[in-house]
């Protein structure tokens, strides 16, 4: 029993770590798409955030300045997205793709030029990274038979972003379903004409949704480079923005399901690494098959074969007043 727990606990702990940037980025997409603006540029904004965080933390020695810079950089890209999609009523997918390509180029160029380490930022010292936070009362909890050690290993000793990300899920749920702002934002994503005819500005709400997405993507990026990692390296987000997009769709654009989906995807990832070549019940599941699950699941749900993921009705459509 003890041995089994000792195997499971690190996997679950890794799940929480891996899920953190996914949760932040998926919540980002949630706000943008709930307001009616499709965001395929989560990846690029995260990447910009990861670079800004590592670069700033390197220069200032402060991880919090790094987080601020990450939020700033990602928000700038979000502002560009909002300008293209809301003000100019441009194609939202094209804008998102452009931001992905642009961010990949910008971060690689500036990383090499500013730090001269082959596209990496210098390795951050421990005090310029997010430290692992001890679980309050860990000694006491560990005394609980069996579960105690499990709890301490799984939920203790994570960095601040992990706790922030999990705390943001109820915050997002509250904001979207319990406040005036949330009601209006969601209405914008379904029927902007109804919002407009109630005398509320659709453009302002959509800017707000896209900018919140920028802030959250910045946090996700900072997590990757200054909590999980200790430096920025070229293309370090490695498609997490798209997994987050997949999670958002599988979660049918709702905050709590976003959490569960991201945890499930995180668990898959954590398992995939540990189960490489290890037979489970006599079958070796290819690691690639596990990695593909989020994408396959998304397609299946979008096609409505098993349940149906229906996006906010007005997402992707620029709002033009009739007549």
């Amino acid at each position: 029993m003890e041995a089994l727990l000792d195997t499971i606990a690190p996997i679950l702990a890794a799940t929480l770590r891996v899920a953190t940037p996914l949760i932040l980025a998926a919540l980002a997409g949630l706000f943008a798409e709930r307001s009616g603006v499709v965001d395929v540029g989560l990846e690029g904004k995260m990447l910009a955030g990861a670079f800004a965080a590592a670069a700033t933390a390197t220069v200032t020695g402060s991880v919090w300045y790094g987080l601020g810079a990450a939020i700033g950089a990602a928000s700038l890209l979000a502002l560009l997205h909002a300008f293209a999609c809301v003000t100019l009523r441009g194609n939202q997918v094209v804008s998102g793709m452009a931001i992905n390509v642009l961010a990949a180029g910008l971060t690689a160029t500036l990383a090499l030029a500013w730090f001269r380490q082959g596209g990496q930022t210098p390795a951050l010292p421990a005090d310029a990274r997010f430290p692992a936070l001890p679980l309050p009362g860990a000694e006491w909890i560990a005394e609980i038979p069996l579960l105690g050690r499990l709890l301490v290993t799984v939920i203790g000793g994570h960095t601040a972003p992990v706790y922030i990300a999990f705390a943001l899920v109820p915050v997002a749920a509250f904001l979207l379903w319990r406040t005036r702002f949330g009601l209006r934002l969601r209405a914008c994503g379904e029927n902007p004409a109804a919002v407009d005819s109630a005398g509320i500005s659709v453009a302002k709400l959509r800017y707000a949704g896209v900018l919140i997405a920028g802030v959250l993507c910045g946090m996700a990026g900072a997590t990757i480079s200054t909590a999980q990692g200790a430096a920025f390296s070229t293309d370090m987000t490695a498609g997490r923005g798209f997994i987050a997009l997949a999670a958002l769709i599988v979660a049918k654009w709702r905050p709590w399901p976003v959490l569960w989906t991201c945890l499930a995807f995180g668990l898959l990832d954590a398992l995939a690494i540990r189960l490489q070549g290890v037979p489970v019940f006599g079958v070796t599941v290819p690691v690639q098959a596990m990695q593909a699950v989020p994408y396959v699941l998304t397609v299946v749900l979008l096609a409505g074969f098993v349940g149906r993921a229906i996006p906010p009705r007005a997402a992707g459509v620029p709002y033009v007043k009739e007549r």
Binding site: W177, R178, T179, R180, F181, G182, L183, R184, R186, A187, E190, N191, A193, A194, V195, D196, S197, A198, G199, I200, R313, R323
Partner: protein, 504 residues
Amino acid sequence: MTAPAIECRGVSKRFGHVLANDSVDLRVERGSIHGVIGENGAGKSTLMAILHGFHPADSGQILVDGNPAVIRDSADAARLGIEMVHQHFMLVEPFTVLENVMLGAEGGALLAEGTAHARQNLLRLGRDYGLVVDPDARIADLPVGARQRVEILKALHRGAEVLILDEPTGVLTPQEADDLFRVLRALRDEGKAVILITHKLREVMAVTDRVSVMRAGRMVAHRETAETTAAELGELMIGRRPAASSRPIPATPGPALLHVDDLRVRDNAGVERVRGVTFALHAGEILGLAGVAGNGQTELLEALSGMRAPEAGAITLRGQNIAGLDAAQIRRRGVAHVPEDRLRHGLVAEFEAQDSAILGYHRDPAWRRVLGLFSRSRVNAHAARLMRDHDVRPAAPRLRSSLFSGGNQQKLIMARELERAPEVLLVGQPTRGVDIGGIEAIHTRLRRWRDAGKAVLLVSVELDEILALSDRILVMFDGRLSGELPAGAADERQLGLLMAGAHA
């Protein structure tokens, strides 16, 4: 006497060359239901859009409760207590009734602050006015009539003193309409001002206290409902017209080519728009289908042309049932179609005119040469000839379709559809947005086609046009044929009544 809830003095609004509202006056008293009637394009919707802040008036004055008011947007209108129930509902479908009602009037940054109040208010309003809706039902699950009640509740919750309803019964069953009228009377009795925009005389007579008639952008009459008749209103609505410039030469109809038998058609929302229509179309006649827009003519035309599969019934062309065939198959059987909405269906705005000139006939070998590929010179020559023969200006086949005037676009579509000498021609709103000169040319073209022994079904909301062209007139109301008149015997008053759903 207290000041009227709303007073318009000399309100004018121009869109491009069209004077949509020409110095309009209107007084709506509190505690009354005020009907505003008129044909399509008479200016009713423009006037209401001005009152609701959708677009500002060019000139004139609006007084609310006797005080001059400035209405720049719908937020201004809401502050003045003016709310509108749109023809197309402004509801968020996945939201509950309560959430929809609260949108824009939440009563605080947190929904909890206003929810209890809104819920209570909803129940109270429901009791007071008979507007019964479950506050926690999702809009998507509600029938149309209930959705309309939600729209009214929304307006009342936002503190409406003046409630404008734009063609509210267009989507309702007769029972639902009666329920609505009960609600409107209750509102009146509570001292609200209700403005009912409609073209249905039955409704005006049944529910209003006063009625104002608009025609061609002007307010032509105000009446106490009790002191007028449907006949008088119908006449005022249609007005005295100059006799049609050229009465049709008495036609010599041939055999029936197209039989429509108990046809039923649903629209995209699943609402049955054509509800059992039966008629025959003969060679050598122009059969006019009159009616106010939205009474099922569009769906009928779409079903006949193959753009929309009918729900039930038969369409028989020379003895063969063509119901359910697609547009290409029906076209090949000799039925041409000049669609109602030419920019949406009739051509491709960003195509060159010569490419729009083969839309629907693009598989024709006439403009294909080597290996069955298009010959640009043949496509071009074809378009050039059509343009010359039908006087399309400019006669520039390579100009983008969207750059032609409405009249010239229409002439091009007409040219394309007549090119194959179809036995049956379906025409929808042929002169909508076409200037006077263009109208004459198009009318001449249609008459000649009839004289050549072809069958023409003309769907138009313009009574003038129907009267000027038709050999026989059918009137459509609420998805059914409400009457048939031979052209000679057709009198405008009678037609107006049939179009408004009153029995002649």
